[in-house]
Amino acid sequence: MISIKNLQASIKDKKILKGIDLEVKAGEVHAIMGPNGSGKSTLASVLAGREDYEVTGGSVEYFGEDLLDLDPEERSQKGIFLAFQYPVEIPGVSTTNFMKTAINKVRESRGEKALDAVNFLKLMKEKMKLVDIDQSLLSRSLNEGFSGGEKKRNEIFQMAMLEPKLAILDETDSGLDIDALKIVADGVNKLKSKDNATVVVTHYQRLLNYIVPDFVHILYKGKIVRSGDKNLASELEEKGYDWIKEEAALV
């Protein structure tokens, strides 16, 4: 699905990603872990197309197409979804209206007709149930005054609506209590299929108790320093990140 080769990126001349290699196939769940400042969120942002980051080297192929050539909206229209670590508050735009615009822009890009009000509401109801989100939240201004948990749940709701092929969850567990975490993870698990893939970016192992990864990668100083299966995450949980740092220092 996506093939990342030697990806390098900087922000304001500061190198953050120093050569990332990663291959994700349909049906897989990958976890990207690492200490603060290792470049996890940068990787997520670069894949979504944030223009503040400059890609200085490497390539990303997504279904055989050069992903780095596409605008953020084109990436979304082609099935990439980024769940934000800090979802943006947008006063005056309700989630419902926002989603209606988004869905119809995506449909338009695929040459499909816009959803009418009836079918849109039907879709909304179905997805609301899936991620256990309340109608009243969706008619309010997007994320404005939402609690941390509500914001993250709204991200997963948007993901359910847009049915991405590749979902990237950036620190989706940050700021969540255990109940909210379970609900969010439950939503992600329900959306999983053999045709889509999930990349979970996280500092802590606890989210991975609920979203079980097929592969775990450890990012440190802009490079993937280790890859393994879910046991690698447990190992990290036990030992912390220090041994990774020490190991990296030896290389």
Binding site: R50, D52, D71, E73, I90, G92, V93, F98, I103, K105
Partner: protein, 392 residues
């Protein structure tokens, strides 16, 4: 000789033959129109601009088109070139009005000019159940509509005013005065979307007595130059004055919103929210004055002006001005100006929404807040439509 006297001379033959007009003209020729150094017109040097751009001897055109009236049940008053045309107007039985000879008004230059030139005054003498619409179809060099609205105790009025200029290089100098009696309510909404060679100076005055409420909503879209003078005198106790404004400008439009709210007695409340979106080479001016007189204890007065600049060639001047003589009051003001939030645009784009649509969504949401007090759906829809037309 004062600097603008040449221009004033071109009006001389239009002065009314009644004592108030003659007196106003005399005062005006003494003080003159605002000149380049007038503080109140610092960012809007209106007199030289008018002198250069207005064709004072324009032949009037018949510009009335019934389709331009709102299709809402209510009283529709049609002014043509500043004069009420009763044949074109359609009124409901619940409205009472008279036409009077113009009388003394305010003593600022453009009010004096209006008093000098307005042939007479439409006086609406009571509140109404159905809304009132006032249209100005102007095609002459200068039009001077003069209107007074008297809302009696316990009555209310919803009034929408709209100016339709179809000839180029016209100037409208309007004056409307609301007298809001005890326990009365008035809401005045203006939609300003003129041509890029049309000029206007529009004065709105409200005198509000005990427990009276006055609302003004001003939506400005296109104009060569428009100056809005809004003056609310909260003369009584427990009065309220509300001012909402939106200026969404492009091309070389220039809008100057000059508002004054004067708290004279205890326990009154004023609230002001103006928002500006400036694109291309447009200019927006906001000057909000709040006076709290010595007797006006327990006044609450709030003001905010937020602006988004979309172009580096757009210009904004914003100036809050608070003068407080009472010591037990709550007043706040704030103004912001900036660009659209790039991170918010990115967020919308990651959901498949292209940049143009994302920007329009954010601006639409920003602008919409100023429409909260517009209660007539037709007018609200019209303004929302104009916002979309400008943004998309």
């Amino acid at each position: 000789m004062i600097e603008e006297y040449n221009m004033l001379r071109s009006f001389e033959h239009l002065i009314n033959d009644n004592p108030s007009s003659k007196e106003a003209w005399k005062m005006l020729t003494e003080i003159g129109l605002p000149h380049k150094k007038s503080e109140a017109y610092k960012f809007t040097p209106i007199a030289p601009i008018l002198e250069k751009n207005i064709n004072w001897s324009l032949e009037p055109k018949n510009t009335f088109d019934e389709k331009q009236l709102y299709s809402v049940k209510g009283s529709h008053f049609v002014f043509v070139n500043g004069i009420l045309n009763e044949n074109l107007s359609r009124t409901q039985p619940d409205v009472s009005f008279i036409i009077e000879e113009v009388r003394e008004g305010r003593h600022d230059p453009f009010s004096l000019l209006n008093t000098s030139l307005a042939s007479n005054e439409l006086v609406i003498t009571s509140g109404t159940a159905s809304p009132i619409f006032i249209y100005h179809f102007n095609s002459t060099g200068i039009s001077s509509p003069r209107i007074r609205i008297k809302i009696k105790s316990g009555e209310s009025i919803q009034l929408v005013e709209k100016l339709l200029e179809t000839n180029k290089n016209t100037f409208t100098n309007s004056f409307i005065h609301f007298e809001v009696a005890e326990n009365a309510f008035a809401c005045h909404t203006k939609v300003q979307n003129y041509g890029n060679s049309n000029y206007s100076h529009e004065t709105v005055v409200a005198d509000v007595e005990n427990n009276g409420h006055f609302y003004n909503n001003t939506f400005s879209f296109e104009s060569a130059l428009t100056r809005n003078n809004l003056i609310i005198n909260l003369n009584g106790q427990n009065c309220e004055g509300h001012m909402y404004g939106l200026f969404l400008l492009d091309k070389k439009s220039h809008i100057d919103n000059n508002t004054t709210v004067d708290h004279l007695q205890p326990n009154s409340f004023s609230n002001e929210l103006y928002k500006g979106i400036l694109d291309e080479k447009s200019t927006g001016v906001f000057n909000g004055k709040i006076y709290v007189r010595q007797d006006a204890q327990k006044t609450n007065a709030f003001q905010s002006n937020n602006n988004i600049l979309l172009s580096k060639d757009a210009t904004l001047h914003t100036k809050p001005q608070l003068e407080i003589w009472a010591d037990d009051v709550k007043c706040s003001h704030g103004c912001t100006s900036g660009q659209l939030d790039e991170y918010a645009i990115f967020y919308l784009r990651t959901r498949g929404i292209d940049r143009n649509t994302a920007e329009a969504m954010l601006l639409h949401a920003f602008a919409k807040e100023t429409l909260e007090q517009v209660r007539l759906e037709t007018v609200k829809d019209e303004v929302l439509g104009l916002i979309d037309q400008k943004l998309l």
